[in-house]
Symmetry: C2
Subunit: 384 residues, 2 copies
């Protein structure tokens, strides 16, 4: 029996977009879905209630961070990550690999796993596929990810070939390491920007019988245009009947485009990280709240948005909070950005259900482009 | 007609404690009341909804900070401070004097006002009684404070005498500067630790016909024991039929004691500032959440508390957030501390209504003292 029920409820006639329903122990997840990132057992600055209210049904938890602090055994002993952070929705955990490759120092990859030193205290660790599964099971994840080797991009054919071979080896070990009765497990397709490697690796990973499939190594420095075609090609090689997850992507326009290629799941730190830097996503492009022109602006961040931030506060107030270095600035901006992302997802799902995804995509991208060109004039065009 | 309706609903038989009701344009305020401090137009890290949910009915706004950034005229043009920060409850604003004396550089006091340089950009300003009223009226305050001279303590008799004389002069000018139909205005009694100066100044300030009276200069470095008797003596000289406000005080045990001397209003940054430093107030004393002993503690911060933080989160999680430098740490700790303060106020009001304030005070202080002595053992005593 499958460890994750996934049902496709509707397909768009003119694209690969599909509307799905994943059933987890912690509730249903309608796809396409965006997963806010809960790095240290918290989506920075936000409570579970605020995430729920934004339309979030699934979060991503970071294995690397929680393993180092406070430790997966501590979280297990306290009842798991859901209880620890008071989140009762679905949780996907990453394998820890991506952070080891991007944050840890002195890392050394060998077949056994990745040797690395903690970015917190310099202590030495070996992250193996087996340890990654042990950590994710301790956290009580609903969807676990198999450890992969994730080279920074662009890198050579040979580097990507070795990463593909090792990732397959680790994928097999991850499946064997999983306890009976534990969570769903997704495999990750690597291969960089090389279509033949992606094709070969997709076939290998798919043959192993994972509950779902992810496309990795596409948010690590590559040129955007090339990524697009690689993702589209790879997505079409993944089985229709399992969820497809594009890791670490991305901007709203990338999400809507990739949904058109049949992607179901996304995660990204952009909405929360950019919020803390004062950048707000809107249906007409981004808005940098620190700009002088907003000092006396009585409009909400996005006049078309119905989030708590846009309901209660003016751009002038948001700018004041940002300039004053107030914690509430990060909160209100994060609430808006997460709400915006989830509202884009909800619109995408509705468009798929109505069989007009192509139309939605064109309209969305063209409004965004017009808005980006005219940020400075937006407030005057829109009116109170 | 009075600009502020204040009615005493009950008196404690064995102390000067009283239960009151202030009616403001922005809703009723039951006294004794604690006012969280909204320095930059925000109670640090919290939303108005969270403040309401904690039992807060009145906030304090800081004239000095808002005058410098974003500017009182900007706030006035955007509809006032209530609208700017989305707070629909009552607002008391200070005069700006205390911050000029404690934060600004190169300050020089003369009869006209206080010359100072902004701590933000070094610009030169003169804060006069008239400007203070203008700023507070621009903010749309419900209760304004007259500008006072607030010497750091302890200081000499002569210094305090000059401050008393100048404060009376400024009090008269503040009353004259107030527009017809604007908010209530409170006068401030100075005099340091000298009872004769306090007596003289109380008589002068009371004679001017303010809507309420404050005791100033008691949270600026003086020894606690001496402050106690000065406050008690001064409070008894202030008219029964107007609210009495003890500025900048203080710890929970000080609040409950001063309520017994007839104080109605308090403000203090302690609950929010200490929250950000990881100190939680509880009915059994303070708890420093960063301590190692809480690393695996499944109990809530205060097992007797029903705030959202204590409802959803363990000490282990709160410690993890603090150690990880997460914004949510400041939020959850602030929610708990403000809730604790407001719950002490609610208990105090109930005790007064039932004529057993002395009993409440004794019980409160003795639990607190026993708890402070035994912080390390508390978790084990209480049990899950």
């Amino acid at each position: 029996m499958a460890r994750l029920s996934f049902r496709i409820a509707a397909r768009d006639g003119n694209s690969a977009a599909r509307l799905g329903l994943m059933d987890t122990v912690h509730g249903p997840v309608e796809t396409p879905a965006f997963m806010p990132v809960g790095t240290h057992g918290v989506v920075k600055s936000l409570t579970p209630q605020e995430l729920r209210a934004s339309g979030t049904s699934i979060l991503l938890g970071n294995t690397y961070h929680l393993y180092l602090r406070p430790g997966h055994e501590l979280i297990r002993d306290l009842g798991g990550l859901h209880r620890f952070m008071a989140w009762d929705g679905a949780l996907l955990t990453d394998s820890g690999g991506f952070q080891v490759f991007s944050l840890a120092s002195l890392r050394h990859v060998r077949d056994e796993g990745v040797d690395f030193r903690s970015h917190l205290d310099g202590s030495s660790h070996l992250l193996s596929p087996e340890l990654s599964i042990e950590i994710q099971e301790s956290l009580g994840s609903d969807i676990m990810m198999a450890l992969d080797e994730c080279p920074s991009q662009p890198s050579t054919y040979d580097t990507n070939l070795r990463a593909v071979e090792r990732t397959t080896l680790w994928a097999e070990r991850s499946l064997r390491a999983r306890s009976s009765g534990s969570a769903a497990l997704f495999g990750i397709v690597q291969g960089g920007l090389f279509e033949d490697l992606r094709r070969r690796h997709a076939a290998e990973i798919v043959s192993l019988g994972f509950d779902g499939h992810a496309i990795g190594g596409v948010s690590v420095g590559e040129p955007r245009e090339e990524v697009r075609s690689v993702v589209a090609a790879t997505a079409s090689l993944l089985p229709e009947d399992r969820p497809r997850y594009l890791m670490g992507v991305g901007r709203p326009e990338e999400l809507v485009e990739m949904i058109g290629h049949g992607i179901d799941l996304f995660d990204c730190v952009l909405p929360t990280r950019n919020a803390r830097n004062g950048q707000l996503f809107t249906s007409r492009g981004t808005l940098s709240i620190k700009r002088e022109e907003y000092a006396r602006d009585p409009l909400p961040a996005d006049p078309e948005c119905d989030c708590p931030t846009c309901r209660d506060y003016s751009r002038a107030y948001l700018r004041h909070l940002f300039k004053s270095g107030e914690i509430l600035s990060s909160r209100l901006n994060s609430i808006h950005n997460i709400h915006f992302y989830q509202s884009v997802m909800a619109q995408a799902r509705e468009a798929i259900a109505q069989g007009r995804y192509g139309e939605f995509l064109t309209h969305f991208l063209s409004r965004l482009r017009r808005g980006e060109e005219a940020e400075a004039r937006w407030s005057h065009e829109t009116g109170p």
